[in-house]
């Protein structure tokens, strides 16, 4: 009983870490510019396709496809941000939502055109498959890898935001855009960089997650719901909040499916409703 509980915790944390890597960028960009980027899932999906294509058609090793997915998505997001998104920074929420949901549909059609509607196959290298039994709890290598990756990414992000001068300008731009611009910070530039990194992380998450959650052209729509759950529960633009929310939702999703399979898939929404009734601005939300 206790052992299975530990197993559920382990799987849930691995799932949560994946959700965190995929959604942290959305939380930061939404909090910073108040820009509602519903196409965030499309960036994650693109990362997944970069990973599977490099692996299956060009026989790259899995670990090398991860940075490639990150960089490819960064490049695409810079083009979109400079070309499309920046025109709508001051626009109404409705305009932003219409633009980005349009991008989602375009991305679904584009992926279908190039890769078809089939699920993309991915075969992990042998050192990531199988599991390791620790005192009766089976720890999958792939999930251990996900957790390690998630810890490293969150550590790096928190360090960058809290301890570096770039991080300080980001925080300043988030707290008060006008004041930050007034003291000579290039808010637009800071935002462009943050947006690119956040999108790149989504792409990285997409590539990491293919083995666990699969990949087909509907990914961008299917996972949008999960990203929005994480961001609304975590509170905007708080890395710690996003991490906590992703872990809570990941664990409750896995636990719900394990212990009460009949309603398991809905548990995650019940948790969201409960948490938002308790903290309407999210766990670590600061906006009033």
């Amino acid at each position: 009983m206790f052992l299975s509980f530990l197993g559920v915790m382990f799987d849930g944390i691995a799932y949560g870490m994946l959700l965190f890597v995929m959604s942290v960028g959305l939380s930061v960009t939404m909090g910073m510019m108040g820009f509602i980027n519903l196409a965030h899932g499309a960036f994650a999906m693109l990362g997944g396709y970069v990973c599977t294509t490099l692996m299956n058609q060009y026989h790259w090793p899995y670990l090398l496809t991860l940075p490639a997915a990150f960089l490819a998505v960064v490049a695409v997001s810079v083009i979109l941000e400079r070309g499309l998104y920046r025109r709508l920074y001051g626009a109404s929420d409705l305009d932003q939502v219409l633009l980005t949901i349009g991008l989602v549909f375009m991305s679904v059609a584009t992926m279908t055109f190039f890769w078809g509607t089939a699920q993309q196959p991915v075969n992990l290298p042998s050192y990531l498959s199988g599991q390791w039994s620790l005192g009766g709890v089976g720890l999958g290598f792939y999930r251990l890898f996900l957790i390690g990756f998630g810890v490293a990414v969150s550590g790096l992000l928190i360090f960058t935001v809290e301890r570096t001068s770039f991080g300080a300008t980001v925080r300043a731009a988030v707290d008060n855009q006008k004041m930050a611009a007034g003291i000579g910070i290039n808010v637009n530039g800071v935002f462009a960089v943050t947006f690119a990194i956040g999108s790149g992380l989504a792409g990285l998450g997409g590539a990491l997650g293919v083995n666990m959650v699969g990949l087909d052209p509907t990914f961008a729509v299917k996972f949008l719901v999960y990203f929005l759950l994480v961001v609304s529960v975590g509170g905007l633009n708080s890395i710690g909040g996003t991490l906590t929310a992703a872990l809570v939702l990941g664990v409750s999703d896995v636990a719900g499916k394990y212990y009460v399979p009949a309603v398991g898939a809905f548990i995650i929404y019940a948790v969201m409703v409960a948490l938002l009734m308790w903290r309407p601005n999210g766990l670590f939300g600061r906006r009033s």
Partner: protein, 393 residues
């Protein structure tokens, strides 16, 4: 993928041309029209393509004219599991294009939606895949050339009990065919003397199978019977089972052939080796007829390995040809159904017949094991239950 796009283009071009031609009555005189409704786009596009390849092979072998008449195929795309669209397309085909027969559908909900249209128009509807038991009961104009889930699940239950499995757990997708498979496996297994120790139903749109597989593993049953739709879901389930080392921990995994569908078996990798499944068709079925069939399909489209859907499409189309031949081109819904009901012929999968009482298919069900032949993973048949009727009715 290039080929599938081309197929779609050809299909839609044909559809556009056909609707243009349909307007002039004189042209329609010498033509017999078959309306094919499939899920050409959306999440089941691959399955639709498999069926379409089977249809194309039959057309290639039999030619496009028969009994002095020209055969015209009008293809329509439902875009996925959309019963409302399927019904509208069927209605259009019947009223505007005046088709003589309807055929197709991968999915049960789409088949059920078309049933009423077939009944009202008295147009035979040839099912090429949809496998829920109840479908043929929904209209006297429906005839099925694929299979039903109870038809393959029940023989597997009996085989499992005979081969030393006394306790089993079931894991199925939570929708019509899954519930059909679960119910008939349980019924046949307990009737044989076995014991069901637990069951779990997985939502149809489910991103991660891990918790469900873990639940089965922790229950430590002797064996687990699984059914999920062929394709992406089967791959996902196999992955989760491999990652949790379900089989290595001593739990035998058995299931319907949807799990090891030939179209995706190769991409499952060695994790699928040794899996025992029951189904009516295997790509590796040893017969000259099947050899000619698989070679023929691969000559049309070598991007997809022919599977049970392809054979469903092929046999359905061959049956349609046989009916037109016997009617000498004078099409009539009721007469056509009478011929369908007594139909019996040799398919690439083995001998098949239609049960006149239910208009459902009667065929041999094979027990197969995944093995590596050359560098290909295939389902090797090693046991057979002859002439199985659908036990779900």
């Amino acid at each position: 993928m290039k080929i599938s796009k081309r197929g779609l283009l050809i299909g839609s071009t044909a559809a556009i041309l056909a609707s243009g031609l349909g307007a002039s009555g004189a042209m329609a005189e010498g033509t017999i029209k078959i309306g094919v409704i499939l899920e050409y786009s959306g999440p089941f596009a691959v399955q639709a393509k498999e069926i379409d390849n089977g249809i194309n092979l039959a057309l290639e072998q039999r030619g496009d004219s028969i009994a002095g008449k020209k055969i015209e195929i009008i293809r329509k795309d439902t875009g996925g599991p959309k019963p409302d669209v399927a019904k509208r397309l069927a209605t259009e085909l019947v009223t505007r294009d005046k088709v003589d027969m309807l055929a197709g559908v991968v999915l049960t909900p789409n088949a059920l939606a078309i049933a009423d249209v077939a009944t009202q128009a008295k147009v035979p509807f040839v099912i090429m895949n949809a496998a829920t038991s109840i479908i043929t009961a929904k209209s006297p104009y429906i005839v099925r050339f694929s299979f039903t889930l109870p038809q393959v699940s029940a023989p597997l239950a009996e085989w499992a009990f005979k081969n030393g499995i006394k306790e089993a757990y079931t894991l199925v997708s939570d929708y019509g065919p899954g519930l059909d498979a679960e119910a008939s496996f349980k019924k046949a297994f307990t009737a044989a003397g076995g014991k069901i120790v637990g069951d779990v139903r997985v939502p149809l749109s489910n991103p991660d199978f891990a918790p469900y597989v873990q639940r089965v593993k922790d229950a430590k049953p002797q064996a687990v019977f699984v059914f999920v739709p062929a394709g992406a879901q089967a791959i996902g389930l196999m992955k989760a089972a491999a990652e949790r080392e379900l089989v290595k921990s001593g739990i035998q995994m058995i299931g319907t052939g949807d799990m090891t569908d030939d179209a995706v078996l190769q991409s499952m990798g060695d994790a699928a080796l040794g899996l025992v499944t029951s189904h009516h068709y295997s790509y590796a079925h040893k017969s000259p007829h099947n050899k000619a069939f698989t070679d023929g399909v691969e000559a049309i489209d070598n991007s997809l390995r022919p599977d049970f859907m392809t054979v469903g499409g092929y046999d359905g189309m061959i049956a349609i040809y046989k009916v037109i031949e016997q009617l000498k081109g004078k099409m009539d819904g009721d007469k056509a159904m009478a011929i369908f009901k007594s139909m019996k012929f040799e398919s690439p999968r083995g001998p098949i017949a239609i049960d006149p009482a239910t208009r459902d298919i009667v065929q041999d069900v094979y027990i197969r094991r995944v093995e590596k032949v050359g560098d290909k993973l295939v389902n090797v048949e090693f046991d057979k239950i002859p002439s199985v009727k659908d036990p779900g009715k």
